[in-house]
């Protein structure tokens, strides 16, 4: 949510900046912009907006809304509710909690996972994504490539075992380990032979 909030705030501030610039231009009659022209020529379309709002409120009062308008209102309400829930949700921790007062960085866990993967026979290359959870333990999502025709099931189970063994030797708890193997052409991977 922090990134989303930043993007929204950046857009709002940019809009305010643009409005501020126009305000200065109109206030000081610069470059032919005059404040009095705004209302006289209905440049802002205030009358149209007012009429549109009036019609909308009348339709709501008379329960005479178009299905599209109802759908849009429901969608806005649902999106608002989702954003509210996300705003109240505590942020995901950045470091993996091992036990009370002890943490390990996601990069360190990722290095260990990739080291274990590289030691596994038949794995041509791999990439790992580690997420921290609120409870102790890391959530690991590993993707690896093997040569076409390999026994994927056996390689996967070997890989899982090696990763779990390595992490448990280091004392890093893993709460979720997802291993996805892709059969691929070795010419498209980092290493062709294992």
């Amino acid at each position: 949510m922090r990134i989303f909030n930043r993007i929204v705030m950046a857009i709002i501030f940019l809009a305010l900046l643009a409005l501020g610039v126009f305000m200065v231009l109109y206030s000081f009659n610069l470059f032919g912009f005059k404040l009095s022209n705004l209302l006289n020529n209905n440049v802002l379309g205030l009358q149209t907006i007012q009429n549109g709002l009036k019609n909308f409120v009348n339709n709501v009062q008379n329960a005479n809304l178009m299905p599209l308008a109802i759908a849009i209102m429901v969608a806005v309400a649902v999106v608002g509710l989702i954003l509210l829930i996300l705003e109240f949700k505590p942020p995901r921790p950045k470091k993996v909690r091992m036990q009370q007062g002890t943490y390990i960085t996601r990069d360190a866990v990722e290095d260990e996972v990739l080291s274990a993967t590289n030691e596994t026979p038949h794995i041509l290359d791999s990439s790992a994504r580690v997420k921290a959870r609120r409870s102790p333990g890391a959530s690991v999502n590993l993707q690896a490539n093997v040569r076409r025709g390999e026994d994927v099931g056996a390689v996967r189970s070997d890989l899982r075992e090696r990763i779990q063994q390595r992490l448990s030797q280091r004392g890093v708890p893993v709460s979720k380990l997802k291993v996805k193997l892709h059969e691929t052409d070795p010419r498209q991977t980092q290493s062709r032979v294992r």
Binding site: K95, M98, Q99, G101, T102, Y103, I104, T105, D107, A108, D111, E112, S168, Q169, R170, G171, V172
Partner: protein, 100 residues
């Protein structure tokens, strides 16, 4: 009562003297350090309620990281004037002797 920088120095010396600690680490994106008039101590963040220690652990086959961090907390806690101690392992260094 010692100031933050002095406290960070004391903690830093204690941490580096602990077996299994390869080095202190200042972190990757946001520098983990304590700043003061007399200098900077990297790898130790002194806060009013907590002291956070960022380390690079040395891999020891017979000793898992939680054991090392428990030892660290035991050693550092008496010197932090009642503050909680948190240990962040930034990396694990595998030495040549580890034979991996």
């Amino acid at each position: 009562m010692t100031n933050d920088l002095e406290l960070a120095r004391i903690v830093s010396e204690e941490v580096l003297a602990t077996e299994g600690v390869y080095s202190l680490s200042s972190g990757k994106f946001v520098e983990a350090a304590t700043y003061g008039a007399g200098g900077t101590v990297r790898g130790v963040v002194v806060r009013p309620e907590e002291v956070e220690v960022h380390i690079v652990a040395r891999y020891q086959p017979d000793r898992a990281i939680p054991e090392l961090t428990n030892t660290l907390i035991e050693r550092v806690a008496p010197k932090t004037e009642g503050r909680k101690v948190a240990v962040v392992v930034e990396d694990i260094e595998v030495g040549d002797s580890a034979n991996l």
